[in-house]
Symmetry: C2
Subunit: 361 residues, 2 copies
């Protein structure tokens, strides 16, 4: 039996991928010029499907990059002259902070221990910070932010840019683009695509800021800086040859998700499976949700504290035909991570509970 990937990304492919990929190979999608009308149509229809699915208004551009890491770098280069502010409580929020530092910015941060969540409402943002960098869903620890608190930040600091990493929560995350200047994700998480494509959503304030910073004589990156991305996106093109196949697949999966009821239907399925798993964990003596405060517990990446031998636990689960993620970094000694994405099913989760039960015996 083919194993089921419940890993937090790369993960199981969306069931439509095989058909879409063979369609792409058959119809020459991978051979067309990225300067052709045919490519522009692919860019346009994928962007439209993403707007439908994720409620992205026309005020925001949709750019295609190599990865979410690249989105962090291009945002920092283009939007931050001197200082950004980061909420750090795991490996990926720390990565955003590190990228800002490596780009020569004076990056500031608020920090919490792994597994704890930020109550954004109580934080004051330093005057110097031009962009507030948030990680909606910290893939390393399974902690997420409350979207309404992101909006509050913008209400409290309307003059700052707000950038949100939604790598492992898009399109579940209820991002209100009225309050968010930029958001980005990669496709190998909830969308269930092969890795190798990042998506950056950014409004005119980000672009204007890049123009200002460039005019001041600072570097904002080269071929993929926000100004070049914007210029090419205006005619549905990209500065360099992009991952055309990935863009095509993303459009196809997004349309599929819209047809299946959109983000609300996707959220209902994820909520239901999350409840199923958390109820089990709370009744168990062998396991517990690793994030103790339910308010901050992610529903798309669920971390489990294992009382007992973690390696043995993962082995037993694997014997049941399921791949789950290890805890991130040092946490691999005490935790496992379970993805809850668009392609995962209630049946997958029933099998997971059986496997977890078996592993606790």
């Amino acid at each position: 039996m083919t194993p089921i990937y419940l890993t937090p990304g790369p993960t199981a492919l969306h069931p439509k991928i095989e058909q879409l990929a063979s369609e792409a190979l058959r119809t020459g999608i991978c051979s067309i010029s990225h300067r052709s009308k045919d490519f522009e149509a692919i860019y346009r229809t994928t962007a439209t499907a993403l707007r439908d699915l994720m409620n992205v208004p026309d005020s925001h551009n949709i750019f295609f990059l190599g990865s979410a890491h690249e989105a962090m770098e291009r945002l920092i280069q283009g939007c931050v002259k001197e200082s950004s502010f980061h909420f750090v409580n795991g490996a990926f929020s720390k990565r955003f902070f590190d990228i800002a530092t490596e780009c020569g910015k004076s990056a500031l941060k608020a920090e919490l221990p792994l597994g704890e969540g930020f109550n954004l409402d109580i934080y004051e943002i330093p005057q110097a910070a031009e962009m507030i960098c948030l990680t909606h869903n910290e893939t390393s620890t399974g902690v997420w932010l409350k979207e309404e608190q992101i909006n509050n930040l913008k209400r409290r600091y309307p003059d700052r840019l707000i950038a949100v990493d939604i790598v492992s929560s898009a399109p579940y995350a209820r991002i209100n683009y009225q309050y968010v200047d930029a958001a980005f994700f990669s496709v190998q998480k909830l969308f269930g695509l092969p890795a190798g494509l990042g998506v950056l959503i950014a409004n005119a304030r980000c672009i204007d800021r890049a123009a200002l910073i460039e005019a001041s004589g600072l570097e904002i990156g080269s071929y993929h800086n926000l100004l070049h991305l914007k210029n090419f996106a205006d005619t549905f093109q990209t500065p360099a040859t992009p991952n055309v196949l990935g863009i095509y697949l993303l459009g196809g999966v997004s349309r599929e998700l819209v047809a299946a009821g959109g983000a609300d239907a996707l959220r209902a399925g994820i909520d239901q499976r999350s409840r199923m798993l958390v109820d089990f964990l709370e009744r168990s003596e062998h396991y517990a949700p690793a994030v103790s405060d339910p308010e901050f517990r992610s529903r798309t990446v669920i971390t489990i504290k294992v009382n007992g031998e973690v390696d043995r636990c993962r082995r037993v689960i694997q014997d049941h035909g399921l791949h789950v993620g290890s805890g991130y970094g040092e946490l691999r000694k005490s935790q496992i991570r379970i993805a809850n994405f668009s392609m995962h099913t209630d049946r997958d989760y029933e099998r997971l509970l059986e496997a977890l039960s078996a592993a606790s015996r």
Copy 2:
């Protein structure tokens, strides 16, 4: 009938791609973690196949990036403190120069009109230039460099780094890595892969230089800087989630090319088709090779000067079931471009000659 893509990239897929892609989807390649032993094995075997095919010694690392453009940027950031030197005679050599400028370097250049080739032996390189940037095959004009003159440059300037763009000539290009510190290409050209992956080959001198520049307090890029690439490559990993499918396909196609006789067999086929086409052009009154000097005329991207209406010519060729490239930029009014890559066949070229004949009537 499915059209044949003789475009200079993206282009026709290598005939093995469909099988390799369906293998990848079936066996879960796209679902495995990029931190797993399984991924390390894919990285390792792809790198080994590339070394076999392209004669890359162990002195040089093999890194995977998003595109060749990214390779230019990471090399400039990592290897150039103040000044690089560029030989510019087309859009892509100019892009390398522009990227250096946008990265804040004082980029210097020698320049020739479009369609002319550099006799590298007669140029003096300014003292200030730390890296000499070469475009082995200028995809926009179909002009290439002589590999032996690249080696001479290194003999004359052993203290400078030599970086060579081999985007549309790898693995045909006879690069002698004894004389070349860095080279890079993208996979949608001679290898016939879907776009979305760049390969950077770089030796320890490049890495050491990046360490030196970073230590001096300058930025060398963030997550994909040469130091991070090197650290991760040492265990066959990448700093961010890479295009795993692309790396897998590249390994498969490279092994296929090795099995079919390696770079020599590939060169023989390309040389034969190039002769076939150039002989035809030289006998024709309607066409001529756009690069008049045979010494500098690329065999992998052949540009044709059309006497008469270029648009009509391309239309007639298309009616014969062939897609050819337009001339680049302004040259689209007088030229067409023909790719001569690993997946193209003598039969494709016979059909091309028939179509060119028909278009000249």
